[in-house]
């Protein structure tokens, strides 16, 4: 029995989160009524010209630096020609000959499974629009909103051998790109899409087998399933003595099978040539250094620092650094409350639970970055107690209201006024003669009950230490 291995390479398209499109001033915001984020330029009107949004180049270089790429000093744009209704100019401005970044790498795996995945190149291009089928009119309509959204295509070397390696790489790539703020990498919204090139060969053989390509995979699960199914399909064909055809296949995730879309003979000749409407991209050392300084501490380094310098448990450091929105809220919270461990505890127990309950991803969280820090500071300063703090967090999650104002306006601040506490304690004693008697007979549990009663009269806002102290004094007087 011959043992086979899969050889996999990835082409990942990532939409850059610049404010405006790559060659015009239209917004890049996701959604919007069809054809409302469109102008003469991105809809390909005659006589229009592209003018490069310089931010796109900076974002692409930042992505290249964060993945250890070499940056091309004299890049160029090329035209990729093909007809399709979602491509208004009938050519895509892309980079074939001199892409912006080359020869990068990303580390995947842990411990002895550590492995380096090579990045062949990273190039800048414009996105196309979307076709929408209208069942009522039984026709296909075009929405050009997405036309001209800046993309980088990250082409890996064929270094993957399994679906797990692929998903690990994609997770890390996503985290890195989110850390450096160049993309939100939301696969469900199409801001991160992957094409899979896959071939199989007997283990130990150098030579590559014939590969197939699966395009526009839109979730990690689908990618994983598609890789496993395609590996099996190819192995079973080869084992049965049938050849693998070089072709593009479409993965149907619902059915769990892939279909042939077109074979090599039908492959497009894109007739690339240098884009005459744009000047060559000159990238200076100074520009690269400036962009390098903009890159924040990346995940691995940050995780190690959290453990070593902040003394966080490994598990907490792992979770907190898993997405940049969490990093941001953690560091902001720790900064405000002045206690990293407290900040971490609150996020790990309370905030993550809220996110899970509300089914919100950290990057979609609508919660001012200052809020949690302020809540924790109020608890440590004794303004509110911990349970009120939790309540405030739950009530304010998803709103812009300032926690300090909220505590004040709703009278949630702890009561530390002696006379008010004494009144509540008196009432607790008066209304619970039996518990008082039990306590005096030596049952310490009754003390907890009486504290609870006094707190209830204080509507939970009593300073627990004061309440306990005053209650104790009053009970002792009765002996």
């Amino acid at each position: 029995m011959i043992e086979y291995e899969a050889v996999i390479g990835l082409e990942v398209h990532v939409e850059l989160s610049t404010e405006s499109k790559i060659f015009c001033a239209c917004p890049t915001a996701f959604g919007g009524a069809p054809n409302t984020h469109v102008c003469a330029i991105c809809s390909g009107m005659p006589g229009t010209l592209p003018a490069l949004n310089r931010e796109v180049l900076r974002y692409a270089i930042r992505a290249g630096l964060a993945t250890n790429c070499e940056i091309t000093r004299d890049g160029k744009f090329d035209r990729k020609n093909y007809f399709y209704p979602d491509l208004p100019k009938a050519y895509q401005i892309s980079q074939l000959y001199l892409p912006v970044c080359r020869n990068g790498r990303i580390e995947i795996g842990e411990g002895k499974n550590k492995k380096t995945i090579g990045i062949h190149e990273m190039h800048i291009e414009e996105d196309a629009g979307k076709l929408v089928h209208d069942p009522e009119g039984n026709c296909t309509l075009v929405d050009y909103n997405r036309c001209g959204i800046p993309l980088i295509e990250i082409v890996s070397k064929p270094d993957f051998r399994s679906a797990d390696e692929v998903t690990d790489y994609l997770e890390r790539l996503k985290t890195t790109l989110q850390y450096i703020g160049v993309s939100d990498c939301k696969m469900q919204e199409g801001s991160m899409r992957a094409d899979i090139n896959l071939s199989v060969r007997p283990v130990g053989r150098e030579e590559l087998g014939t590969r197939t390509e699966m395009k526009n995979m839109a979730s990690l699960k689908a990618i994983s399933r598609a890789i496993e199914a395609e590996t099996k399909r190819q192995i079973s064909r080869i084992s049965a003595g049938k050849p693998i055809k070089q072709q593009t296949r479409r993965w149907d995730d619902d059915k769990g099978v892939s279909f042939s879309m077109r074979s090599k003979e039908d492959a497009h000749d894109y007739k690339y040539f240098p884009e005459p409407d744009l000047l060559p991209l000159r990238v200076s050392d100074g520009m690269i250094e400036e962009i390098r300084r903009e890159i924040p501490e990346l995940r691995e380094a940050r995780r190690a620092r959290y453990i070593k310098e902040l003394g966080l448990p490994e598990y907490d450091a792992d979770i907190l650094t898993s997405s940049f929105p969490l990093v941001r809220i953690f560091e902001r919270t720790a900064g405000i409350c002045g206690n990293a461990k407290e900040a971490s505890n609150w996020i790990m127990t309370d905030l993550l639970k809220l996110l899970k309950d509300e089914q919100v991803a950290p990057e979609d969280m609508h919660f001012p970055e200052d809020s949690l820090g302020k809540i924790i500071r109020m608890t440590s300063e004794g303004v509110i107690n911990r349970s009120v703090g939790r309540r405030v967090l739950t009530e304010l999650f998803g709103s812009d209201t300032d926690p300090i104002t909220y505590v004040k306006d709703n009278g949630l601040a702890m009561v530390s006024d002696q006379s008010v506490i004494e009144t509540a304690v008196d009432r607790a004693i008066r209304e619970n003669e039996k518990a008082v008697a039990d306590y005096l007979c030596g049952n310490p549990k009754s003390l907890q009950f009486l504290i609870g009663q006094a707190m209830r009269h204080l509507r939970g806002k009593g300073d627990p230490q004061s309440v306990q102290k005053i209650l104790f004094e009053h009970l002792e007087k009765r002996r």
Binding site: G47, L49, R79, Y272, F273
Partner: protein, 484 residues
Amino acid sequence: MSISRQNVETARKTGQEFRSGAVPISEHIEKTISGIQKEEPRNHCFVTLFEEQAHKAAIRVAQKLRSKEDCSLLAGVPVGVDDTMMTRGRRTTCGSGTLEHFIPTFSATAVQKLEDAGMIIVGKLNTDEFSMGSLTQTSFFGPTSHPADETRVAGAAAAAVASGVISCALASDTGGALRQASAGCGVCGIRPTYGAVSRLGLAAFASSMDQIGPIASDIRDCAEILNIISGKDPCDSTSVEIDKIDLSRIDSFSLSGLRIGIPSVFFESDTDPFVKASFHEALDALRSEGAVTETFSLKGLDQAVAAYAVISCAEASANLSRIDGIKYGFRAPEAKTLSEVYERTRSVGFGSDAQKRIMLGNYFLSAERYEEYYLRALRVKALIAKGFASAFRRYDVILSPVSPSLAPKKEPYDTLSMFEEDFFTVPASLAGLPAASVPCGKNPDGLSVGLQMIGPHFSEAKIVGAADAFLRIGGGQKTQGGQK
């Protein structure tokens, strides 16, 4: 017979009459439009007239002049614009059936600048389909007639100026259309340095060579218009800032000591005898004023037309792909499937010359041919540019005829022979150099020939100076030319 600049007032003089109040703008515009309408059945220069808009603009500009607002010297002057340039809200056909009813949503930067300067666009001039040609032979709307001979063709902007219905126009020049049109009708035209005028709003033919320039009966009017339309445009990455031409210094331009180079291959070419004779006479006239002429060899010129054909067809094939029947313009009504929409729309919509060039361009760019054709053409282009650069260390200007032949008859043409007509004009296009065409002779049938003056990048002022000096000594006044 005399050349047209004696028939027509210069644009600057007309502008002066408006400013002094001697002539009301509205009246002049009305006269201009009725003049065009009268000549139109014979000339066929205009595709669309903007009668109503022009009248409104006349009132607006007159108001501005009365309130002493900052206006250019050409405020109120009627101007024609080649129909490959977008005019917002006003029909722009690019000379193509595919855009027969197209109304653009924005104006070309050059058009906008003319209007900002108070010039009044009276209509859109006939053009070869997407500029593919020089003398309107490929226009969907049929060719423009030559002013001197109805059986011959002419570039519409030049013909309109030569016939006196307008004093100036904007035209486009890729391989030499503007210059050849000017030469054929005995008027002046300047193709500026590549990038000097924004290409935004000019329907692209060959993006790396397309340029907008002025045509007028008077070279100083050309300079004045160039001053209005030139300059860096943030919306055109390939545009550049150029110095404005100081017209007050033109009078003092001296031909004495002017160093003139003539590539020797230009003398060896298959050129009409009258064109050749006029060119030699022009050189004699210049030498008699103290200019020094010298022939030299410029490598790659013999391959310039081939390189131009490859590059322009390649770029055009991509530029015209957007005309696909999906978003705007003509769509073949009988098409049922997506590929039928593309195939039928493009094979019915485009004229045969455009289709030929698109097919050629696709061939040159195909994976198997790219190196053999496209990359080789780029090397020839680089070689020619280098040759010019070194020549301009020795010469102030390089001269040649504009077109190897006289205005052709209205007859079926073939694409290859049209490329041959570009022999003298494509070198400057490939090198991105500024070049003027000035009249230098007219044969007994009234067919004109032009003298091309090519200068280094950004030397528009020098070219205008030399051209103006040449015209002052009567270089362009020769008629019955050829023999002394």
